[in-house]
């Protein structure tokens, strides 16, 4: 057997508190070594998602489509504060937001629901939230299909080559999702209140982001409420929604400086939450 030729792996464990740099290095090494696990887990999550529905993965396309008329009715018809081509304006923000919230809700429960496995097998637990988030990426990609269809049918005048920049903006959002998802996953393992709380926090976050309204409104509001103005500016989704809208709705370049700023903050956050996750990881088999 080929296994005999390989050197014997030696596992030595002793109580030693690793430094933050150790933990970060360890995380990177583990995730790289277990890329197969991430892939298999993501595949399993995707297969499971459509298991008990008749339409299966068609829901990935239907979901944002069904949500849109709701907001068109609320904001465009009842509140009468829509912008030209309002459905497209809405869709370019609702689609990424839907992706964000489903990524994070999948990530939140990813560790707590695998309690049996965590007690039985030694593996890097950080693969769980990462794969949960990776598994939702196709949902976003499928959601782009109705967007393109809508643009081709009704908003041909808005279609431009800038739409090819969507993956760039999405990549920044993915890093942000990973950073927050890893944090929520470990918090939820220790206290199941996390899931409940995040649902509420996300609703506030959505209202404070320029999804249903344009960012001109932000200037308008922050004149009267300076604190809200600061919240708007610090909100990464202000930049993300503006960027999505620039490339889809307006047909211009996004603000790359703002995007890079969000990317750098997200990367810093990702490093921090990974270290935090890794620090608490050894307790998982005991508390679940």
């Amino acid at each position: 057997m080929s296994t005999l030729a390989r050197p014997t792996p030696v596992y030595v464990a002793s109580p030693r508190r690793p430094t933050a740099a150790d933990l970060l290095r360890q995380t990177v090494r583990e995730v790289a070594a277990h890329s197969d696990l991430v892939r298999q887990l993501a595949r399993a999550t995707m297969r499971r998602a459509g298991a008990h529905t008749i339409l299966g993965n068609v829901w990935w396309v239907l979901d944002p489509l069904l949500q849109m008329p709701l907001y068109v009715l609320l904001v465009g018809v009842i509140l009468r504060s829509g912008t030209p081509d309002f459905p497209l304006f809405l869709f370019s923000a609702i689609l990424p937001w839907k992706w964000f919230t489903s990524s994070l809700s999948e990530a939140t429960s990813s560790v707590a629901t695998r309690d049996q496995l965590i007690k039985q097998v030694a593996f890097p637990k950080i693969a769980l939230p990462i794969s949960a988030i990776v598994a939702v990426v196709p949902q976003f990609l499928f959601g782009l299909a109705p967007l393109l269809l809508m643009m081709g049918l009704f908003y041909r005048h808005r279609l431009s080559a800038f739409i090819l920049l969507v993956p760039v903006v999405a990549a920044v959002q993915l890093v942000l999702s990973l950073a927050i998802g890893i944090l929520l996953a470990i918090c939820n393992a220790f206290a199941r209140d996390t899931g409940r709380l995040t649902g509420f926090v996300f609703r506030i976050w959505f209202i404070l982001s320029p999804a249903l309204y344009s960012s001109d409104r932000i200037e308008h509001v922050s004149g009267r409420y300076p604190m809200l103005g600061i919240a708007f500016r610090l909100n990464p989704f202000t930049t993300l929604f503006e960027s999505y809208r620039a490339v889809i709705y307006e047909g211009t370049f996004p603000s790359f400086i703002a995007l890079v700023a969000v990317l750098l903050v997200s990367l810093g956050l990702l490093a921090t939450t990974s270290i935090f996750f890794k620090r608490l990881e050894p307790s998982l088999a005991k508390i679940l």
Binding site: A44, A51, K119, V121
Partner: protein, 297 residues
Amino acid sequence: MTAGRPTASPAAPTRADHPETGERRRPLAEPGVPANGTPGAGHGPLAIEVHDLGVQYSLRLTKRRTLRRNFSSFLRRRASLFWAIRGLSLAVRPGEVVAVIGPNGAGKTTLLQTLAGILLPSEGTVTVRGKVGALLGPAAFDLELSGRDNIALFAAFLGVDRRLLHARTDEIIRFADVGDFIDARMRTYSQGMRARLGFSVASVTDPDILLLDEVVSTGDHEYRTRSRARIREMITAARTIVLVTHDMQWVDEFCTRAVVVERGSIVADGAPAEVVKHYQERAEQTPAAREPRGRRV
């Protein structure tokens, strides 16, 4: 605790010292089993070395309490800590088949989890030389997926190389003997089928050291016979096995050594027949003394 036996001794087993049960341990006479009659006659490095191991649990985190009571206990600083294992030392040589027996809550599973790298020691050191395969309890399969998908997923958790798995999948399926069900969702599987598939995946991954927790004594007669044959095969290949079981017949028949864990440390260590007899006698005498509660620090 005070049994008049060498406690927590990492000494070599004394199988050969026990002539009256010698003829019952036929499987061990097969080639590849180290002649471990003479203490200290080790060949090569030890497979498992556990030195003064302690594993501590914090009851504050494990017990589900209300927020208010959590908070008050936090304020009082009464850390309710619990040593699941303390002061445990053990040395296992390659090829040994060690049975870990003891009452519920003694720390047997915790010991295996620590050897598998699932738990980290709170004190002491654990050294394991070789590739570890662990099957601790009924395998946690994803019931919404097919058996085939679960094999791939579980193997990925175990860190099995994809090419190796590909080559072995047929063998795994054959040993699990689930027939056409392999492509059906595992929700439709019987308990026995799930158990077979779990053992099958864990044992076909070619581990040097196999850790088993209460898995060999489940299933019907045929499965047991088959897993026995499999374990015998692994003994022949000089694989090291540490298993937790309550099936004393198993211990006697298959293991080269038995240790009794009580209250988080080893209280007896030696030839299976002798240790089992001693353990059963003690269990009848002092049932109350084995209660694991009240060990707070």
